[in-house]
């Protein structure tokens, strides 16, 4: 147990350090253009780099993740530019029409999207570890309460609409602190045993990381 705690703390510290380093980066626009591909490309040499001596593998995972997020944001922004702007309205139809239009535009622009486009396969173990360590470190009652609340028996898939009748269950704030920051356009959510990335304005599932949440016996 103590080991697990130490591992979590170490990861948090590492992530925090990476977060600080990130703030010193050039503005997002430059980062986006540097990331280049609209559809995130295959993982960069970060894999090799991460195994090199002296390279912080968690930092590499976070940087690669940020790159992919930036690439997604470029698509999101392109799509936003192509659909009517959303302002405060008393007509709910305008809200749902806009959400749908934005979602469809992104789906079109990401037609070839596949799981792992953002949660890069080689770095998925880091995300899984963060989630699992957080859940395992909780008292049993808390763990059960958390898992009991999650939407279950729902199939979620990349580049599809998040089911509109499904509650957006609370994302555990302490866990949120341990995961890399996201821009306001995106959020993490847990559905069943999957960690998903959801586009807030388009209500779209951007990426899915399956079998993340450990099974908790009831």
């Amino acid at each position: 147990m103590l080991k697990l705690h130490s591992a979590s703390i170490a990861l948090v510290v590492l992530f925090a350090a990476c977060g600080k380093a990130d703030t010193a980066e050039p503005p997002a626009k430059t980062a986006v253009s540097a990331a280049a591909p609209v559809t995130p490309a295959a993982p960069a040499p970060a894999v090799a780099a991460s195994t090199e001596q002296g390279v912080n593998p968690v930092g590499a995972a976070v940087l690669e993740f940020k790159k992919r997020i930036d690439a997604y944001l470029k698509i999101h922004n392109d799509a936003e530019g192509k659909v009517p702007n959303l302002k405060k309205t008393d007509d709910p139809k305008e809200i749902s029409d806009r959400e749908k239009a934005l979602g469809e535009m992104i789906m079109t622009l990401r037609a070839g999207a596949k799981p792992g486009d953002i949660f890069a396969p080689e770095y998925q173990p880091y995300f899984i570890k963060i989630v699992q360590d957080d859940i395992k470190a909780r008292p049993v009652a808390d763990r059960k309460a958390l898992v009991a609340e999650l939407p279950k028996n729902v199939k979620v898939d990349i580049n599809t609409v998040y089911p509109t009748t499904l509650p957006l269950e609370t994302f555990p704030p302490a866990l949120l602190r341990k995961l890399p920051d996201l821009p306001p356009e995106l959020e993490y959510r847990i559905v069943g045993r999957s960690l998903i990335l959801r586009d807030v304005k388009a209500n779209l599932i951007v990426d899915v990381l399956r079998d993340v949440v450990p099974t908790i016996p009831s």
Binding site: L86, T89, P92, I95, D142, T170, P172, P184
Partner: protein
């Protein structure tokens, strides 16, 4: 002939069973009284508001409780309403906004009473663009009414941006009263959900540090006034349409007053250094009331 008799008896039994079921359902539904136990406000220039939680069902319970809210307004003319989340359950098509919000609260909307909503776990965050929810396109926001500053949080997703924003807004507010409201209760005796400890570890230190006075939450489908925690008064009022009867754990040690047998809502008045609250049931009965002095706990 024999076959016909058997069918007839079966039909009669089905009818009887149906009648019994209807009777059972009707018995659970309170008869709506044309009267209300609501007491008028005391202060002349006080801030008066309505508290609604977990309301967006569009069913009979919401409509009847909504009617009771409007009856209360005749005695206690609240100027605005706060919504504690789960503003719309299930689908959120245009007709759902009508059935689950605009129709049940039509008299209030017709009277230009503004609503200020928080997001619940059943709410699409894009509700923030819906004008009548008063969110100004924001997931979390703040607004001022005379001496009172309200902090409306999105407890579904307490990310670092929101934490930073909350601390900044709390630190710069010198309002006499500071009230926060959001969907998930950080203290609760609910058997189904209970206290959101994870959220508590993040927001409570800020509430204490910056002298928050009162917190309203929903999520639990009942009414609970909690014993003050670290000098802060907590209310859960998540039963304005949904009801989870008998869900309050009686020996939790947290409850000052609980009510989980009928739908309810609150009317609140802030008059100088005093906050007065009344909790009203779907039938119009006053099930809890009291006052909180600023700097003291109820």
């Amino acid at each position: 002939m024999k076959k016909l008799n058997v069918r007839f008896i079966a039909f009669l039994w089905t009818l009887l069973a149906l009648a019994a079921a209807v009777q059972a359902i009707t018995a659970q539904q309170p008869a709506i009284s044309a009267n209300t136990d609501v007491q008028p406000p005391v202060g002349k220039d006080s801030v008066k508001f309505l508290v609604i939680g977990d309301s967006g069902t569009g069913d009979r319970a919401q409509n009847e409780t909504g009617a009771q809210m409007w009856r209360a307004h005749a005695v206690f003319p609240y100027e605005f309403a706060i919504m504690l989340g789960d503003n719309l359950y299930g689908a959120e098509r245009p007709q759902d906004f009508a059935n689950k919000f605009e129709r049940p609260y039509k008299p209030m909307l017709d009277a230009n009473i503004p609503f200020y909503a928080a997001l619940g776990n059943h709410d699409d965050p894009n509700q923030r663009y819906y004008k009548y929810f008063g969110m100004g396109g924001k997931r979390f926001y703040t607004f001022q009414k005379k001496d009172v500053r309200f902090f409306v949080l999105d407890s579904n997703y307490m990310d670092k941006d929101q934490q930073r924003w909350l601390e900044e807004e709390l630190s710069k507010s010198n309002s006499k009263w500071k009230i926060a409201y959001f969907h998930h209760p950080i203290y609760s005796s609910g058997g189904r959900h209970g206290s959101e400890i994870d959220l508590r570890t993040i927001v409570e230190p800020l509430f204490i540090k910056y002298g928050l006075n009162v917190v309203f939450a929903g999520h639990e489908h009942f009414y609970e006034r909690l014993k003050p925690q670290h000098g802060i008064n907590y209310f859960t009022a998540g039963g304005s349409a949904k009801l989870r009867g008998g869900d309050i754990i009686v020996n939790s040690g947290l409850t000052a007053k609980g009510f989980d047998t009928e739908q309810s809502f609150m009317v609140v008045e802030i008059d100088g250094d005093v906050l007065r609250f009344q909790t009203i049931s779907r039938r119009g009965k006053r099930v809890d009331s009291g006052e909180i002095r600023r700097g003291q706990t109820s």
